[in-house]
Symmetry: C2
Subunit: 369 residues, 2 copies
């Protein structure tokens, strides 16, 4: 069950062969960037070749160094080549802007604000930007606007929300086909969903956090996950994709440890174990009414709210397990919600989200002709 | 929360204005075709104008007559104009092939095999085909192949499975990014899902069928729905999108009334009420183990199976209600499944699926340049 549809009458039916190759520049070769390189290699001989798309990896960058080869870099082993042959101090943005190819794509697999700040300049120069980096889209509305669309290019950012799940494409489709979105409800932190599952299974919060850290689910400092900022950023991105103008300060955000549901907080600086009692009591309340705990984001009447919630048995979130993400769109056409659900984090699925966007970027018409 | 992202620096950033308009031909102005016209009107002044896409409805056809206007037909009121001004016997296929526009799109909102048979000729002539009509894609593998990709165009068929739900786009993305699909499980008949819900609520099958007919959920003859053929057709389409070569005769299909779960069948010709007892007994069995009834399709190891199933409490289908559709993809990257769920039938959401495909068709590069 591999392979896929394609013209079987010679392989060059649609689009036609012969266009000059699109130049691909990858910045960031950590978990997601490395997974992207692994996925790109077979795709170049597979789906891309079958549909006649010529995509050439010509640039590869990490914080300290870069590689720029107009004849192309084979994705397989590219990470090692960067380490061995990379040129210190090679700036990715200047390199892309100076590249003569008419079709250029930046893939940003960093969390680097300096790369994010360059998107508007690149877009105006006709570069298409594919981002796993959330920063340009979850800061001010003004930065979002200049980073999402430029004079000659646009950004593709599916991987910033739910990794490979088709969340933003679905939002874009709803809006573009003229549907009216009434509300969005979402679970967008696999880490916090895992904590909720563990707590409902009877584990103390502090031990659940330890377990999550041991499995590599959390940031090095788990308090970054517990702050809820990452969920707030994703909800901002979803809301803006739906046409809402909203600033980070407008988000009603309750951190995981600061929820009013768990009673008076021991304070942000207190050890996590000081919160165990509050969560134990909350679990009892949930069990008593058959409810479950979830850390959710919602968008209603133009307002974003992020925080802990008790989810009743008849709610779609009640069935969530482990670290699953989900997004429910309620719209004029979808009174019963349209729901997307599945694993929403991890290098392989995030890289797949990036790669899907690259395929769209290379196929869409626009300033490239 | 309406509107959507777009360049705010004059509205013509991406893609650029000035390309010749794409010519749109709609065949079929029943429920879906009429809803499509209603949705197209605001989109032409909205998303399309904002992104600089010029799409012009120039042809409108129903079985008896057609209208062809190179200067364009305003979607609002187009159905009435077709009735008043339509020319008897105007053939849509010849009209499209004779139209001089370099960019042409056929939207097929019929269930007409004659239109479906013309796809290969249209695709080879560079026409892009957007279909709500399942026939070309659920017959022989050979017809699928010639209808899905042509020498100069491709077909877009999201609306044939799950209406507006992003099922086939997600399948295409999984395959194209190199994921390995291990299994698909789906509920793809809103009508049969409704019957299952009603039966589980204690209603006799024959009364549930009457209720479904009264609500307009069934074909004029409900036995067409009960045969399961429609689900088999949708599963064939999903399987082929995932790269499988499979013929209709290869589907292991058990009709709703012929399920081995309900014991010896009274026979196809028997009154539906003769099946009430079998379904009452099946409901008891389901309740005894906390299971629910679902009419499902599955794809495993290259084999499609369609039929009634008892769904255990921990299965994602257990939470389905009313007439919802859902598709679960289990893949190499998605061990926990990627799930799409929501209303999967009805004119408005089907038309939205068609319109989303039209937007993709008009934007994708290819033989159009």
């Amino acid at each position: 069950m591999t392979g896929g549809p394609g013209p079987e009458d010679g392989g060059k039916g649609f689009p036609p062969a012969g266009a000059s190759p699109a130049h691909l520049f990858l910045v960031g070769v950590g978990g997601v960037g490395s997974a992207f390189l692994r996925q790109l290699d077979p795709v170049q001989d597979g789906a891309l070749a079958r549909s006649g798309v010529d995509l050439r990896l010509v640039g590869l960058f990490r914080s300290a160094s870069g590689l720029h080869r107009l004849q192309g870099i084979r994705p397989d082993g590219a990470g090692e080549r960067l380490v061995q042959e990379g040129k210190g101090g090679l700036d990715p943005i200047t390199t892309i802007l100076d590249d003569p190819a008419p079709r250029r794509i930046l893939v940003d697999c960093t969390a680097d604000p300096n790369i994010a700040e360059a998107y508007p300049r690149l877009l105006d120069d006709g570069v298409r930007v594919v981002a796993a980096n959330k920063l340009a889209f979850s800061g001010s509305q003004e930065q979002w606007r200049r980073s999402r669309w430029g004079r000659r290019g646009r950004a593709y950012l599916e991987a910033t929300v739910g990794a490979g799940l088709p969340v933003l494409r679905t939002a874009e489709d709803l809006v573009e086909t003229g549907d009216q979105v009434r509300s969005v409800e979402a679970v967008l932190s696999g880490t916090l969903a895992f904590l909720c599952s563990e707590i409902m299974a009877g584990r103390p919060l502090s031990r659940a956090v330890e377990e999550a850290r041991a499995r590599g689910y959390t940031e090095p400092d788990p308090r970054e996950d517990l702050s809820g900022q990452d969920v707030a950023r994703k909800m901002l991105i979803v809301a803006r994709e739906l046409g809402l103008h909203v600033e980070p300060a407008d988000v009603a955000l309750e951190g995981f440890l600061a929820s009013s549901l768990t009673g008076p907080s021991p304070g942000d600086g207190a050890p996590i174990a000081d919160h165990d009692g509050g969560f134990r009591a909350l679990r009892e309340r949930a069990l008593a009414r058959g409810a479950r705990l979830a850390y959710t984001g919602s968008l209603r009447e133009g307002r974003i709210r992020v925080g802990l919630e008790l989810v009743e048995p008849d709610h779609p979130f009640h069935g969530l397990r482990g670290s699953e993400n989900t997004v429910l769109f309620r719209t004029e056409r979808y009174g019963e919600p349209l729901a997307i659900r599945g694993p929403g984090a991890g290098p392989a699925v995030t890289a797949a989200g990036v790669l899907g966007d690259v395929l769209r970027a290379v196929r869409e018409r626009g300033a490239w002709g």
